[in-house]
Symmetry: D2
Subunit: 407 residues, 4 copies
C-alpha cells in the first residue's frame, strides 16, 4: 500500500468533521479568550486517545510520536473576529457581535481531521507529528503568547512547519507559492498635540485637527514618492480622530496607521519616514509637545522557504487531480504563523485553500467583480462552502505531513 | 428725590443676593432642564408679591405694571454648562460635571435684585418692567423655546430690551458698545462618504480619512483667501472623526464646524464656500454619495441699536464714577438674546460686566497674559468675584430701566 | 486777507499744470531710472527761480526759506510701473511696457503747483517749505536711497511731513484718517531644496514640487488659525515655481510671498510662523538642504500721527466745501513715505485724493462693483480724471502747508 | 560553416566602428533635426554599396534583399538630448547643450556594424533584412513621423522587429525579458484658472497658487490609495508653475505631469483619476473656467512578444558565453519603438545591452549605490564603455537576425 491510500477512508469521518465545523462556527470566541474552543479541541483530541499540552491560556499542542523520522509541526489558528454575522446560515454565530469571519473554524476542523487520519494510520508514516492550535492570530498576539509560555522548550524541535488558510478562491483548489505570500503588517498609534481653545479663538490654539490633516496628506507621499514604483507598500490611516464639539478646538489628535510590506528594508524605511513626517509636521504646526508613536499588531512577513514549498507543492500535485493545485498570488493580508517556525529557526510553507463556490467565483471573475461580489475574509457574509473545502483542507494537511513522514 | 437715589438702599439687600448667588452656583442645571433654578426664581418673585408666568418648560416672566410710560424688558439667562468645576470655592457646584461656568447665576441674581429694587421703589418710575428669565442660552435653544411657546402673545410688547453678561474684565466696570458686540455663531455637521475596505487594499476603497484631510486644509482658505483681510471671520473644524481601527478603511468621516462672523452677508458667503469646498473635494475623491450638511446651534449676531446703546451708556456714565463705564471690545462669543427683541421688532442694548479681580487683571495685562492667565467663561476655573460685581450688575439693570422709565 | 485767499489764483496756472501732467504721463520711467522726470522737475523748479538739491541719483529737493516759523516737508513720489497702458487716452504712455499706473505723475504735478503758489505768495506764510521728489516708491527703494545719500544732513530738519496719493474714490474728495492708513508690506523669496531625479524614479528623489504644495497649504493657517480673527493680516504666495519638464523631478522650488499687516508685532509673528512652517515642512519632506529666506520690498506701516492728521483734516474742512473731506478707509496697499519722517523722528500725515469720475463711481457703488468696474491703481486702465483732481490735490498740499505756516 | 562563424571576423571592422561611434558622439543632434547624423548614416550605407530610402525628414531605411526567407526589421534610434555633457571624454560633444546622453550613438554604430557583417556574409543567411534608423525617440515623435511618411507602404512587411538599448548594467551583458520591459509613458499639461488680483486683496481673487497646491497633494492619492499596491504606477508632477511676483496673485497655474504604467487599463484609470481630481479641486476652489488638459510625449508600453523574446534569448545563450545573457528587470523608462512593429501588426523583442564598467558596477552594487554612483541614461556623466559594449551590441543584432534568417 502506498502512503496516501488511507486518505480514501476520509469519507467515514467527514460527517464528524462537518458537525465539528458547524459547532465551532456557532460559538466563535475573540483572541486570547478562546476558552470554549480550546476545551472542545482538547476533548476531541482526548477522545482520540491523545495527550494534550496547554501552552498559554488557550493554546494547545498534541504530539504524535510515531518512531524514527523527521518532526513536522502543523498549526491551526482558533480565534474569531468582532464581526456581526450576516450569512443567514443555519449554523450562524450564536454570539452577538462575534463571528468566525476568517475561517479559523475550518482550520481547526481540518487539523483535527488530519490528526485523526494520521493517528489511525500510524503504519503509513514514521516520525513525529505535532498539531498546534494557536490562539489570537488576528491581533498577532497568539504565536507570541505561546512562545512566551515556553513553546520551544515544551515540544520537540520540528524540522519543518506548515499552516494553511481558507481564502475567497474557488473551492476545490490548493494554492501555493515560494517566497513571500503574505505581507508584513504593522500598526502604529500616533498622538499629536496642539493647544485647546474656544472655537471662536483659533489664535489662542495650536489646532490639532489641521495638524492631523497635514500629516494624513503628507503620509501619502511615502508610497507615491518614496517607494520604488514596483515595490509593494501600503500606508493606510485607518482612523483619524480629534475633537468632539464644533466650538471647542481640541488639544490632540490620534491617528491609527496600518502598514503592509513584502520587504523588511522597505518596512523599516517606511517607519522612519512616518516618524520623520509626523515630527516635521508637528514642528511646522508649532506643536507644544513631542508626538508619540505606539507600535502594535505587528505581523511578520510570511515568506515561504523555497524547498519547503516545492516539496509540498509537488506532493499536492502528485495526489490531487489536475487543476486543483494552482499558483497563489501574494496576498496583502498578514499572519503571525511564521513566528512559530522562526522561534525554532526552521523552514516553513503556508498555502491557501479555496473556499468559494466555484461557479459563483467564475461568474464574478468574468464580470470582473471578484473583489466586490465575493465576500472576502472579515466580511459579515464570509461563508466558506463546506464541501469539498473541508475535505481538501484535511487531506492537504495529511499530504504535507506525509511528504516528510511518509514511508 | 432724583430717580436713582433709591439705589443707595441696595446695601440692605446685598446679603440676600450673595446667598442667592451662591445657592444658584451650587445647583447648576443644563439647558432646558433648569427645573430647580426656575422654581427658585419663581419662589423668590412670589415672595416679593409678584405674579410669575411660565413660558416654555423652564422659562418665566414677571411683569411689573406701574402706570403710564414705556415698557422695558430685561432678560437674564439661567442655564449652566457640562463643565467639571475646578475653582476650589466653598460654594462650588455640587452637581458632578455641571457648572455655572458662564456666570448666568450672576445674571439671575442681579435681575432678581433689580426687580426687588424697582418693585419696592415704584414711586421712582412709571411704566412697565418685564423681567424675563430665559433657559438654554448655551445651545441657542432657549430664546426660541420661549418664542415657540407664545412669548410675544403672552406679555406686553416692550419698547426696548436689555441684557448683560459677566466677562473676564476687571470687576467694577461696565462695558458698552454700539453696533455688533457679539458674533453670529453657526455650527454644521458635515458627513462625507467613502467606500470601506480592508486597510491592506486601499485600491478597493474610497478613503474618507484622506478626503476629510483635504477638506480640513481647503477650508482654511475661506478665511485666508476668500475673506476681506479686515473682516472678522472664523471657520473652526472643532472635530474631525473617521474610523476606529488601523486596518479598516472606514466608509465615512464626520466633521463638526463652528463659524463666527459679524456680518450676515459674510456668514452666508462662508456657508456657501463650505458647501462648495466639500462638494468639490468629494468629487475630487470620487466619493460615491453626496455629502450631508446639518446646521445647528445657530446664534444670531448681537448688534446693539445705536440709540439704545447711547442712552444706556449715558445713564451709566451719569450714575457711576469715572473709570467704571468703558468701551467694550467686540467679543468672538455668541448669544441668542437678540432673538427676543427681534421677535418683537424692537431695539436692544447688551452690555458686559467686569467680574475679574482688578489687581490680577492688571498684572496679567502687564504681562500680556490676559488670555492665558485669567480664567475665561467656560473654563473650569471661571469664578466671578462677587463684590462689587453683583452690586454693579444689579445697579446696571436698574439704571438701564430708569433711563426709560425714570420720572 | 486770510491766508488761503491766494488759492483763488490757482486758475491762472492750471493750464500749465495740465500740460505738465500730460507730459509726465507720456514719459513714465521705472524706479531709480527717473532721469528724464527728475530733469523736468528740476527745470520747472529752476524756472521758478528755485534752487534744487539732488539727493540720490534721481531724487531731489527744493527748500523755500521764508523767514521764521516751522519747517514743513511735502513729498511726491515720481516713479512709474512696468504696465502696458490700455486707457486709450491721447496723452497715453509713449514708452512701451511702462505706465504711470499709480498716479505719481499727478503727485509731482500737484506738488510743483503747490510750490509755485507758495513761492509766488510768500507774504501769506512764514517758515520753511521743503518740496521733496522721491524716486522708486513702488519697490520701497527710493526713500531709502535718499536716506542713504544723506537726506537728513542735507536739508533742514522738518517739524512735520506730508504726502498724498490719488485713489479710485470719487474725484473732488480728500480722504483722511488718523492712525494706520496703509499696511506694512513685506516680500520674501523662499527657496526649498529637494533632490532631482528622472520623473519615472520618484523614489530616488526628494520631490520639491510636493514640498512646495505642502508649504503653500500650511501657510494658509497663519491667517486662518494663528491670527486674531479681527486682526488685519494677508499672507499671499504670489508665485510658486518649480521644474520645467514633465519627466524631470526638479531639485528645488521657489516661492514668492507678500505680507500685509497693520501691526508690527503681528508682522513679526507672521514672519516667525513662515520660517517655522517652511522649516517644518522641509524636515517632513526629508529635504537635503536648509531652505533660504530673502526678504525684499519691505514697506513700513503708514501710521498717521493723530495730531498731525487732526490739524490737516480740520484745515481741509475749513477750506473745502461740505462733502469734500471724507473719512478714509485703511487700504491694503503699502508705501515707503513714512521712512522719510521716521528718518527725522517727526510726525506725519498722509491723505488720499479721489480721482475717479464721480458719476461712474456712484453707479458702480450702487451695483456693488466698485472693486471690479473701477480701474484701480496698477491697472492698465487706471486713469485719474484731471479735473478737478489736479486742482484739489494742488490745493490740499498748500492748505496742509498753511495749517503750519499760515500767518 | 555554421551560421554564426563569420562573427569572428568582427575584429577587422571594430576600429571603423569605434571611430564612427566617437564621431556620432561628438556631433549630437536633437530630435527631428538629426540632419548631419542622417547624412553620415546614409554615406556609410552607400559606401557599403547599399541603397538608402529616406522616410520622414531624418529617418532612413536600408533593405538587404537576400533571397527567400523571412523578413527581419532592426531599428536604431538616432537622436540626442538637450544635456550639457560632463564626462571629460576626449570625444565629448562639441555641440553646446546637446549630448548623446542616452547612448543612441551606440545603437546607430552597432546597427551599421551588423548591416556590414550581414551584407559581407550573405551566404550565411537568406531572407530580407531591414535596417531602420529612427529619429526623435526621446519625445516619442520619430516612429510616428516615419509612419506618417508612409513607412508601411515603403518597405516590405517584416515578420518580426528588433531593437536594443544600452543601459547602466555591466558591460559584457545582454539582458532579455518576455512581456513588459519598458513602461508606457504619458505627459499631460494641465492649466487651471483662478482670478488675478493684487496680493493684498486675496478676497478679490480665486487663488491659482493654492489651487495648484491642492491638486499636487490630491494627485499623490492616485498611487497611494487608488492603485493596487503591487501594481507599477508613477504619477509625477515634474513642473508646477504659477505667478512671477510676490504681490500679484496670478490668474492661472500650469502643471506638467508624467505618468508611467505597465498596464493600459491602469493607465486609462489614472488618466481618468487625474481629470476627476483636477476638476473636483477646481470646483472646490470656485475656479471661474474649466481646466484644460493637453496630452503629449505619449510612449506606448514596450511589451515583448513571448515567442520572439524566447527565440532571441535562446540564440543569445547559444552564442555568448555563460553569464552574458541575463534576465532583465523591467525599467521605468519608455520607448516609442513598439509603434513600428505595431504599425505592421508584427511581434517584437527589445533587449538591453550593459554598458557600465563591470568593476565599478560591482563596487556600487556591493555598496548599494548603483542608483546614485553609476551615471544613468540622461545624466551629463552617462558614458558607455566602448569595449566590449560595442562588439556585444553589434553581435547581438546579427545573432537576433540569424535566429530568423540563418541557413
Amino acid at each position: 500500500m502506498t502512503s496516501t491510500d488511507f486518505l480514501d477512508g476520509i469519507g467515514s469521518q467527514l460527517d464528524w468533521q462537518r458537525d465539528l465545523y458547524k459547532d465551532f462556527h456557532r460559538e466563535p470566541e475573540l483572541g486570547l479568550a478562546e476558552h470554549t474552543t480550546s476545551a472542545r479541541i482538547t476533548s476531541e483530541l482526548t477522545a482520540m486517545g491523545l495527550e494534550v499540552e496547554h501552552i498559554s491560556a488557550t493554546g494547545l499542542v498534541a504530539v504524535l510520536d510515531n518512531g524514527d523520522g523527521p518532526t513536522v509541526l502543523a498549526r491551526a489558528d482558533i480565534d474569531a473576529l468582532p464581526v456581526t454575522e450576516d450569512t443567514g446560515l443555519d449554523y450562524a454565530s450564536t454570539v452577538n457581535g462575534v463571528m468566525h469571519a476568517c475561517g479559523h473554524d475550518m482550520h481547526i476542523t481540518a487539523l483535527l481531521g488530519a490528526v485523526r487520519l494520521l493517528h489511525e494510520n500510524r503504519d503509513a508514516w514514521s516520525g513525529t507529528y505535532i498539531a498546534l492550535f494557536q490562539p489570537s492570530e488576528e491581533d498577532a498576539a497568539g504565536a507570541r503568547a505561546m512562545r512566551d509560555d515556553g513553546l520551544t522548550a515544551k515540544i520537540p524541535t520540528p524540522d519543518i512547519a506548515y499552516a494553511q488558510h481558507v481564502m475567497p478562491m474557488p473551492t476545490g483548489t490548493v494554492n501555493t507559492k515560494a517566497g513571500p505570500v503574505l505581507s508584513a503588517g504593522d500598526s502604529v498609534k500616533i498622538t499629536v498635540f496642539g493647544r485647546g481653545a474656544h472655537g471662536s479663538m483659533p489664535h489662542l490654539s495650536v489646532d490639532p485637527v489641521v495638524l492631523a490633516a497635514t500629516i494624513v496628506l503628507r503620509l501619502q507621499t511615502i508610497v507615491s514618492r518614496e517607494t520604488d514604483p514596483g515595490e509593494f507598500a501600503v500606508v493606510t490611516v485607518g482612523a483619524s480622530n480629534s475633537g468632539s464639539k464644533s466650538n471647542i478646538i481640541p488639544d490632540r489628535a490620534e491617528l491609527l496607521l496600518n502598514l503592509r510590506t513584502y520587504d523588511m528594508d522597505v518596512r523599516d524605511r517606511i517607519i522612519a519616514s512616518i516618524e520623520r513626517i509626523v515630527e516635521g509636521e508637528c514642528r511646522a504646526a508649532g506643536s507644544p509637545k513631542e508626538p508619540t508613536f505606539e507600535y502594535y499588531d505587528q505581523f511578520p512577513l510570511t515568506d515561504n522557504d523555497e524547498d519547503a514549498n516545492d516539496t509540498v507543492t509537488k506532493a499536492f500535485e502528485d495526489y490531487f487531480d489536475e487543476g486543483v493545485v494552482l499558483p497563489a498570488t501574494p496576498a496583502t493580508a498578514s499572519e503571525d504563523f511564521s513566528e512559530i517556525p522562526d522561534a525554532f529557526g526552521i523552514p516553513y510553507a503556508y498555502w491557501m485553500i479555496g473556499s468559494t463556490d466555484a461557479q459563483k467565483y467564475e461568474q464574478a471573475a468574468e464580470a470582473g467583480t471578484v473583489n466586490t461580489d465575493i465576500p472576502a475574509n472579515h466580511s459579515p457574509q464570509f461563508a466558506p462552502v463546506i464541501d469539498p473545502t473541508l475535505e481538501i483542507a484535511t487531506k492537504a494537511q495529511v499530504i504535507a505531513a506525509l511528504s516528510q513522514l511518509g514511508t
